[in-house]
Structures are given as C-alpha cells and as structure tokens.
Symmetry: C2
Subunit: 401 residues, 2 copies
C-alpha cells in the first residue's frame, strides 16, 4: 500500500499542529494507505533522510497535538532548488511515498507544486495537496487561512487590554503602539479594530502595509485622537512603508542634537520609529509593544473555530488526495457570512496560483483616510475573532461634597 | 457618619480593580461608614476636586469590575509635595473623609504615610491604610504583591509558548529574547523558569537586574545553550545594568563600519541591545519580544488566586481601618508553602518602612552563575503561577525506509 508523507513549513501558527493532526488522523484511518510519515524540519528532513513514523509516536501525544503550539515536526524555510528535485524524488521512492501533504504558505505551495510536476515529468506517480497556513492571512483563493483567527484574537485582545490601561494611565503616558507581524498585508493590524466594540475608541489609528506612511497625516491624526480621548492607541503592521517604498522600520531618526539615531541597520522596528517620531513631535511619554512570534503560538488564546477549521483542512486534504485530486491547496469559502450563523465550505485552488499571488486587504476594507477599517471589514472579521472578554468602565462622574 | 476615600496609583496590574472592589464592597456594607468615594486619577483627583461616588455607579459594573483590567478610577504618578498637604487635608475635610485607602506601590505608601502624619499634626482625625499592588513584586514586608502572580503567569506562558516555537524553528532562527518589566528587581524574569517543567529547557538564560551584565559570560552561556539545544531562549529584565551601573538598554552598539547605532537616547530596550550583541557575535537570526504593559493588563491570563487575594487585601484594609489601625500597608504571609496546600494569612507593615525599602530577589534564589534560579525560588513561585497549559512533543525518531 502507498505511504503518506506530511510536512510543516514556514512560520508556525497556534493551530498548525491541528492541521497536522487532521492529516495524520485521516490518513491513519484510511485502508488505502500504508505508513504515515512526517518530515523532520520540512523539506530538510526529506533531503537529509530524517522522516518520522507516526505509528511510533505515543497515541496520547498525538491526541494532545491538536492543542499544542509550534510546528511539532519542526519547520524550515529552505527554498527548494530545481537541481534538488531529483534527490527529493529519490527519497520519496525510497519510502514509497505516493501522497504528499505540506502545511504552509505561498513558498510551501510552490515546493509541492514543483515536486508534483517534476514527479510527473520523470514518471513517478505522486499526488500532492497543500494545507493552508499563515497568521498573515495573505494566501490567495481562500476566505481566510487557519492560524489567522487565533493571531487576530491575540492582537485584538492585547489592544483591548492595553487600550483600557492606556486610558486609565493617561496622566502618565500619552500613547501606546502595538506592532503586529505581517510584512505585506494588513489583516492583522486591521483585526485590532475588533477591540473597539467595547472600548468605544482604541485603537484610534491603524497603519496598514497597503498604504504608504504619510508622516504629516499620521501626526495630525495622532494630535486629533489625543485631543478627543486624552491618549492615543496606535496599531501598526511591521512592514509599513514610506511613499518611496523604504520600510518605516529602517527610517532614520535624529536626536535633539540632530545626530542620526536609528538607521537601516536592522534590529529596529516600525513601532519603535513611530514611538520616536511622536515623542519628538509632542514631547509625550509612551510605549511600543513588539510581541513578534508570540502572536503565532499563544495557544491558550486560540479559537475553537480556528482549531477545528485547521483540523478539518488537514482531513480535507487527505480526502481530496484519496479521491485523486492533486496539485491543489485546500481553500475555505464562507457560505454564511455574519455572526453566529457563520459557516464555511471547502474548495480548492491550483498550487501555482497560490504560489504566485498575494492577497492584500481589499480597498473597500480600509477607510479613505487610511487609518481605519470599514463596516465591510468588521462583518468579515467579527465571526473569526469571536467574542472578546467583557470588561466594564466606571462612569466616574464628579461627585458633590 | 464618616466617609471613605479610595484611590489607585502607579502602574496598573490585571487585578488592581479586584482590590478596589474589595475596598468598595466592604466599606459599602459597613454600618459605620457613610459614603464611599473614589479619587479620579489618584491624588490628582483630590487636588483637582474630582471625586467619584460609588453609590452613583451601576451595580452591574461594580460587580464586573473585579475581572476588568486597568485602574478603573484612573491612575497617577504625581509625587505629592509637602506644600500640597494642606490642600489635600482641606479636600478631605470638605468631603468629611475619615478613612483613606490607596492601592499602589512604594510611592503610594509614602503618599498615605505623609498625609496621615500631616493630618495628625494639624489635628484632623484620619485613618489611612495601604493596599499593596505591583507586578514587579518588589514591595517590602509581604510574601508577594497582588498583581505579580498574574504578570508572572503571563511571562511564563509567553516564554513556554515561544520556547516551543523557537525549538521548532531552529533551522531558521537561532534565538529568542523576551523582555519583562521590572526596573530593579528580577522577580518577573525569574518567573519564566516556571515554563521549564514542560519544555525541559527554555528559558536557557535569565538575566536579573540584581546581577551586573557580563558580556563575555553571557555570550559564553549563549554559545553553550546553542550547542546543547540547537537554539537559545533568553529572558531579561528591562532594567539590567552593566558593571558600571549604566543600563544595558542605553548601551552603545556599533555596526559593521564601527558606527555607533544605539546610544543613551531612550526608546531602545535591553532586549534589542542583547539581540544586536548576539547577531554581531554569532551572525544568527533571532527576535526580541517587548510586551511592556501587556504584562500588567492581560486579565484573560490572570489567576483566580491573584484575583481573590487582591480582593481580600482590599477587604482586609477596610477591616483594619474600622478596627482603628492606621499607618500600615496590608501584607500577606505564606502559612503553608508548597503546591496545593498553599495558604496565606494577612499581616501589616508600617507605611514608612514600605516606602523606604525595596525587595530585590534574595541571593539564594539566583544560581551562582547568575543565569538561572534555584529550587528555593521554584518552591516560592510554583503555587503563585499555577499550572501552565499542557503541551506535548513528538519523539521525532528517525524512521527506517
């Protein structure tokens, strides 16, 4: 009987192991499949001959994998070169692999795509299906990507809590900046808007990689938010850029003696530069929060919806492959859009299409001023982020003596 | 009947509103007390005549306050000057305040202390009791401070999750640095060690403000951890210092052309400097995580133990005051130390003592190399952090073909 090989690639999400569980559980149950093997450290484990047999793993561990963060098989960002394809096929032959599954983003889909195509060229029968994964939510052809809802909830929860704190500390600190991951797409910073239903206001300003950073317009928005609310809550994507295309994180800033402080040396962050710009313009105290990959692994804050969808995407990939479908990635489509009636159905997108496209925020999701999101986006995001914690505010009306 | 005035001061914790609830609930129930008033933005609300009457607040809001982050009355860091004391007493007289409660740290205890002493000097009868609060855990005279357990759990949970991610991403990134708040005491970075019971290893290196930063010893420890584990997990306190007393966060680093990059300009962080030092020494990729005040407001990660203790500290302050005790802060003492049999009892410490002392980590809580914690510390911290989420690891044993 043919064997299965599954791998995880790129940065983790809180639910990428749920997708792995979906693949492993479905493949293990199938009577058409022999062994279920995993790649240690993605494609590096194939090239380096380190495959893992799931039959040798503790069944209790496999059961709990669904709620464990990280990429349990180990991950890789190695870009497969064309001259490495023969070595990959040699390994697949050695282990009699006929079904190939990889859980990842654009680059991963490209890896499966080229492997499946090369296998066909050399006459090796191979079925390959991709399972979508990314916190950035920028994968083409799917309503959203497993891992994004949990990361979005982490962002919205953090901004909600930090916004309450900033409001209460406004006599001390005047602003707070939260930086999200996501180099080229603004889905994660946008998700912070889910905090608003409670706080009324924070975040006041959202900066998207899709819009060029305009220092003057930004400072005017900061000033106005401070006038209205007494403090300012800002969320920025890590990859925001200036009009000339240069990253804001690499901007030069100068101290009071006009000495250059931070340059294009790496190790800085967009939030830190914004912090500096505001401090210098207004003389305010404030802080920047750079949580980096904590957004990708906070499993205690992951959504059941996300864990379930991630698992089902894995299972769906096996179902498709056993039905003879190859060269596609599993996609999700919203069959019912809003609130509690939210539901999805599965589809497919060709691997080549996914590999070659990105998916930035649609223009109608960003307000014309470039600092907020529209109702259309809120309809999109609310079912994915779910209900945030319920907090209260005192009226704090001035009492008479 | 005499009235009560309560205020919140300094940086918030996830549970400072629980302490406020404890004071308000107990005072409101007492038949010896008239009105229960709150300071809007701490002592600034007293000087600026903005007091809040809790009888005018929505009872549902008051009920939910216990689980809401931030400082619901608004906070302040204003240091009361001696020449402002007459104005404070004038306000207390105006509202017929005879019981004064403030929830805060050293500076707050100093404020109550001086106010109570000045009131006695001018013959105004006033009872003042402090309620302890700080995530840093550096308050004198108490086993720990409400707010610290929840912040410690936030740190340990983050480092646990990020450590799993870093292990699985070691083919891409070689190190991760998590920075905690706490300028002068290492209780929070130390708490990250609670992550170890699961991961076996991360965090590999902890840097305490109590120990001078030794660049060579640090780099040797980083190299050794990388050799052993394939990646390095580091936790540092924001306030770590060099041997000459200068903050590591203000260290100068140089780029490859020997240009100074970061200096003592503010806006940098210790974690960023460590990131730079490691990148330059080993040429590795890695990331730094600076979560700042998110550690102080992540109410969804707060512990029931912490919420309950914070509430009880507030109630205890009212009990003490009604019994005629003044000029003290409520303290907690561990009557039963370890694990599930953990229990505390209440005591008091003189406000002047609390105001004038700090509480760094005891020497026997830090390992001789200065990079880890001892079993004595683990016995101290485990009941406070509680059980962390349970995650699993695959064996990933190499399979045969």
């Amino acid at each position: 009987m043919p064997n299965v090989l599954v791998g995880q690639s790129g940065g983790p999400t809180s639910v990428i192991n749920a997708s792995l569980s979906g693949v492993v559980d479905s493949a293990s149950k199938s009577k058409k499949i022999g062994r279920v093997l995993g790649m240690r450290f993605g494609i590096e484990g194939v090239l380096g001959d380190h495959l893992v047999d799931f039959a040798a793993e503790d069944p209790q561990v496999l059961k709990s994998l669904r709620h464990t963060p990280g990429s349990a098989l180990g991950s890789s960002r190695l870009k497969l070169k064309d001259d490495q394809l023969p070595a990959v096929i040699k390994q697949l032959k050695k282990y009699d692999i006929r079904y190939l599954f990889m859980i990842g983003g654009n680059d991963t889909m490209d890896t499966i795509n080229r492997t499946v195509k090369y296998a066909a060229e050399v006459g090796y029968e191979l079925t390959g299906v991709g399972v979508p994964k990314t916190v950035d939510n920028d994968l083409f052809g799917t309503d959203h990507t497993p891992g994004f809802p949990s990361a979005a909830r982490y962002v919205a929860t953090s901004v909600l809590q930090a916004g309450i704190l900033a409001r209460d500390m406004q006599k001390v600190d005047q602003f707070v900046i939260f930086q999200t991951v996501g180099r080229s797409a603004g889905w994660l910073p946008a998700s912070a808007a889910a905090a608003r239903y409670q706080t009324g206001a924070p975040p006041h300003i959202i900066l998207f990689p899709e819009r060029a950073f305009d220092r003057e317009a930004f400072l005017a928005a900061v000033k106005e938010a401070h006038r209205k609310h007494g403090f300012v809550s800002i969320v920025c994507g890590e990859g925001i850029r200036n009009a000339d295309g240069s990253p804001v994180s690499a901007s030069q800033t100068t101290d009071k003696f006009n000495n250059v402080e931070f340059g294009a040396m790496g190790g800085t962050s967009a939030a830190m530069i914004l912090h500096r710009i505001i401090s210098q313009e207004f003389g305010w105290r404030g802080e920047f929060q750079v949580t980096e990959s904590l957004q990708m692994c906070a499993a205690d804050r992951s959504l059941k919806l996300d864990v379930d969808e991630a698992y089902r995407c894995g299972a769906q990939a096996v179902k498709l492959a056993l039905a003879g479908t190859s060269g596609v990635m599993v996609t999700m489509h919203r069959t019912n859009g809003k609130g509690e009636s939210y539901a999805i159905d599965f589809g497919t997108a060709p691997l080549g299409e996914v590999a070659n496209h990105e998916r930035p925020m649609p223009a109608n999701y960003i307000t014309p001023d470039g600092f907020g999101v529209t109702k259309a986006f809120m309809d999109y995001i609310n079912p994915l982020v779910g209900n945030l914690p319920q907090y209260v505010s005192l009226a704090t009306k001035k009492s008479k003596a």
